[in-house]
């Protein structure tokens, strides 16, 4: 398999991100205009100077016209991108390849989702017409099966595991409380998590990411042009993607304690970026904490902890804001919220702020390592897609 990567050939030179939340007063167009405007200003470019656009949205609109219309783009190449919850990252990946290829000089990735107009609880995806035999289970239910499987395999009893999962939720809310753009900005306690109503299996409301409206955007250029736009570009070291075959669900060999698609995406990204010891080489990581057991398993899939040990590391504070490897310093999906099309780009936005020393002082982490990772997944255990990126402020 040839996945050569485009290490240090593309840089992010401007970004924008709206607050995420229940924006009853903002439609999709408002979110797009706000995030895009911030990104244009951040890079110091106009919409006409951007040569090509990739627009990520899972279910808020079809065709590139959904972006072209609110921004009033005239005959620009505008492509709508969708890949479940990795949609925002996929928009960036496409934009990066576009400038790396030399076809365009400046490209932009915008991710946006308007979830709160439906009136329904949780995320819903009305699929195409079918024979009626497909699963109707929520994502929460599918991911809830990870917790007992992990506990069973690694000898972590139910109560201990509950504490581990609660600690993850508490950490992410602690971080989100220090982030003015986050949906939920109050710290919570372990008791809050334990007492919240059960949604699926042993997962309660506080084990599940918030559903929110929001948008984020990034502008990319070739690395050699980056300093024209900003003093501190974010160089892209790795972009990887892995789509599973979906057969994990019917494969008796799958044990629900890991996500092979995430392992594969991470391995490819580390190879592209030349990372051999992520826990020690990264300054921070943004990961897809759609549910608390998901973040737990990702610590092992991404190589931050050895198999079967992530639960101990969580309890030891390894991934806390000022721990050895801060995970989700911006609050993650859990506390920042999850507008599907925007989330991947929101993760880049936190790397952008943190690595440039521009995060709020209460959550600024030590970035002397100068490297950050974003991880995004979509789908369900056994039937997943995954994205991993590595970005850094130093061009090797």
């Amino acid at each position: 398999m040839a996945s050569h990567g485009i290490r240090d050939r593309v840089a992010i030179v401007g970004m924008g991100c709206t607050p995420f939340g229940e924006h009853w007063d903002k439609g999709l167009d408002d979110l797009i205009v706000d995030a895009s405007g911030d990104a244009f200003a951040s890079a110091g470019v106009t919409k006409d100077e951007v040569d090509a656009y990739w627009f990520g949205t899972a279910q808020s609109g079809m065709s590139g016209i959904t972006l072209a219309r609110p921004l009033q783009l005239e005959n620009k190449p505008v492509t709508r991108v969708e890949n479940y919850c990795t949609t925002g990252s996929e928009a960036l990946r496409a934009a990066a390849y576009a400038v790396a290829s030399g076809a365009y000089d400046i490209a932009m990735a915008v991710g946006a989702e308007k979830v709160k107009d439906s009136g329904y609880q949780g995320l819903n995806a009305a699929g195409p017409p079918s024979d009626g035999t497909g699963r109707t289970l929520t994502a929460a239910a599918m991911f809830s099966m990870v917790a007992p499987a992990y506990g069973e395999k690694y000898g972590v009893d139910e109560d201990q595991l509950t504490d581990v999962l609660a600690a993850i939720s508490v950490k992410n809310h602690h971080n989100g409380a220090r982030n003015p753009r986050a949906q939920f900005r109050r710290e919570i306690t372990r008791e809050t998590v334990l007492k919240s109503p059960r949604v699926a299996g042993r997962l309660g409301v506080f084990d599940c990411a918030g559903v929110a409206d929001g948008a984020a955007a990034a502008i990319v250029v070739r690395a050699e042009d980056a300093l024209r736009y900003t003093d501190k570009p974010l160089y892209i070291k790795a972009l990887s993607f892995a789509a599973g075959s979906g057969s994990g669900l019917i494969d008796p060999g799958y044990d629900y304690t890991h996500f092979p698609e995430c392992e594969a995406a991470a391995a490819d990204a580390y190879a592209q970026a030349g990372i051999t010891d992520p826990r020690r080489q990264l300054a921070m990581a943004e990961v897809h904490d759609c549910f608390t057991p998901t973040e737990l398993v990702l610590m092992e899939d991404l190589g931050f902890a050895a198999r079967g040990t992530a639960w101990k590391e969580v309890l030891a504070g390894t991934f806390d804001l000022h721990g050895e490897l801060p995970v989700n310093p911006d609050g993650g999906l859990k506390s920042f919220g999850h507008p599907v099309g925007a989330s991947g780009l929101r993760m880049f936005f936190e790397c952008w702020l943190q690595l440039r020393g521009e995060a709020t002082p209460e959550r600024q982490v030590d970035v002397s390592r100068a490297l950050a990772l974003t991880h995004n997944l979509g789908g369900y255990p056994g039937e997943m897609v995954s994205f991993v990126s590595v970005v850094g402020t130093e061009r090797d």
């Binding site: 329904y120 609880q121 024979d131 699926a200 019917i250 494969d251």
Partner: protein, 476 residues
């Protein structure tokens, strides 16, 4: 040649009605179909039981009778046909709409020469606190009727029968109504008893037996007083008092169209060779059939005895009963309702959707559910053979309870099941309490109705706890 009964799991204790409403109810319990069952799905379960007890039976036709059809216009028997994976040249017909139709289908089949699978099913409703609500029952029965076949001998020989028809209004229901109405009972009683006596004497003559020869007497009908009065008169007319069969009124209830078949199936399970079984059914007239168990009865055993199913009931709170029956409309979760099934998609996956047939890759042996063209092991293309999974037993590997997803009766209980002999499928569980499932539990597949949208019923399979059937030893 075979018989099978199906009694759904849920039981409404009649005393609960009295406690809740202050009136109505009664003694004993009635069987209640699950929210995901209907007459078609119950018919399928009864038919599976009958076929499992005589797998070599070569069917020529399938007839389905119910007073509560899932569809009008569309034949319900074809759904049963698809779930049983019957060949296309076996005709599937509905005997529609009346409480007489099940018995009528049976007696017609007995007088014919084609091997026919006669399936009857019913769901009986009534207004809260009323007699019909308590006395009614849900259930199904299936009888394979035909001449001796290779590997499928006749277990009860048809000796003779009789029929009487008279137009009088006893019980009626307008299309679309859930509850039926009845004229005052004494009128119906004065009509039914003479009709019953008439068919009785003609049937005995046709069969060449005397009243005293009868070893099992089954008298059924929705008019309880007439049934009791006729049974008493038959004893006076020479039937031995002790041969009256348990009519399941106290444990299942009156299962309408299905009832004569259900009680007959129950009787056949305990009949010995040479014993005479007589069935009289009172509905818009009267029908009687007389059978004698043959020597082959000694070697025949039911796949799942009615008595065992009656025993395996689980209590259903009255509030849930009312919600399932649409008498109460509880607040649904704030989730979109499901889309209607696509007809072409359902037809393309007919074997999977109705028959639970997956595919096995010939090279790797990997089982694919749903069936696939490209193997998940080794990648071979179009090298699959059908794998019938409907009759496999499996083990729960992991499970969860989804309190948020749309369901006609939340929460959804969901398990990943590994089947004996290979294959894994994540599937919804039914007939379980959410608190009672454990990893390692044994489950079997059952045909159910997932939901209805735009009047289209979404039929598919779920897993339910299996009768004790231990897991095979792990293979090395």
């Amino acid at each position: 040649m075979s018989a099978g009964g199906y009694v759904p799991r849920a039981r409404l204790q009649r005393s609960e009605v009295t406690t809740f409403l202050g009136s109505g109810g009664g003694k004993g319990a009635r069987a209640v179909a699950s929210h995901d069952e209907d007459t078609t799905t119950m018919g399928v379960e009864a038919a599976r039981n009958a076929l499992r007890a005589a797998p070599a039976a070569a069917l020529g036709a399938l007839w389905f009778a119910t007073a509560s059809p899932a569809y009008l216009d569309k034949t319900n028997a074809t759904t049963v046909h698809a779930a049983l994976r019957l060949p296309g040249d076996v005709s599937a017909l509905d005997f529609g709409g009346a409480l007489r139709s099940g018995m009528g289908a049976l007696s017609t089949a007995l007088a014919g020469t084609t091997t026919t699978l006669v399936v009857m099913a019913d769901q009986r409703d009534g207004l809260p606190g009323g007699a019909d609500e308590s006395a009614g029952g849900d259930g199904a029965a299936a009888l394979i009727v035909g001449p001796d076949g290779p590997g499928a001998p006749v277990i009860a020989q048809y000796l003779g029968g009789a029929s009487a028809t008279d137009e009088f209004l006893d019980r009626w229901r307008a299309p679309g109504e859930r509850r039926s109405k009845a004229w005052e009972e004494r009128f119906g009683e004065t009509r039914y008893v003479p009709l019953g006596l008439d068919v009785w004497s003609r049937a005995l003559k046709d069969a060449g037996v005397e009243a005293g020869d009868v070893d099992h007497l089954v008298v059924t009908g929705m008019h309880t007083r007439a049934v009791k009065a006729l049974a008493a008169r038959l004893v006076k007319a020479g039937v031995r008092a002790e041969v009256a069969a348990d009519d399941l009124a106290a444990t299942v209830g009156q299962a309408g169209t299905a009832h004569p078949g259900l009680v007959l199936a129950s009787v056949l399970e305990s009949a010995g060779p040479g014993e005479v079984v007589a069935v009289v059914h009172l509905a818009d007239g009267a029908d009687a059939v007389v059978l004698r168990a043959t020597g082959a009865m000694a070697a025949w055993a039911p796949a799942r005895p009615v008595a065992a199913q009656v025993e395996a009931g689980a209590p259903l709170p009255y509030g849930k009963f009312l919600a399932w029956r649409g008498m109460l409309s509880p607040e649904p979760p704030r989730r979109p309702e499901p889309q209607r099934v696509s007809a072409p998609a359902a037809w393309r996956s007919e074997d999977w959707k109705f028959g639970f047939v997956g595919s096995r890759d010939r090279t790797s042996g990997a089982l694919h559910m749903p069936p696939a063209r490209v193997s998940m092991q080794g990648g071979a293309v179009d090298d699959m053979e059908p794998a019938v999974m409907a009759d496999r037993v499996g083990t729960v590997v992991t499970f969860t309870v989804d309190r948020l997803a749309y369901s006609p009766s939340p929460p959804i209980v969901f398990a990943v099941v590994d089947f004996d002999g290979g294959g894994r499928f994540p599937v919804e569980l039914t007939d379980v309490d959410a608190d009672a499932i454990r990893i390692g539990d044994r489950v079997e597949m059952t045909f159910r109705r997932l939901y209805s949208a735009d009047g289209i019923h979404d039929y598919f399979w779920k897993a339910r706890p299996a009768e004790s059937s231990p897991a095979p030893a792990p293979q090395s």
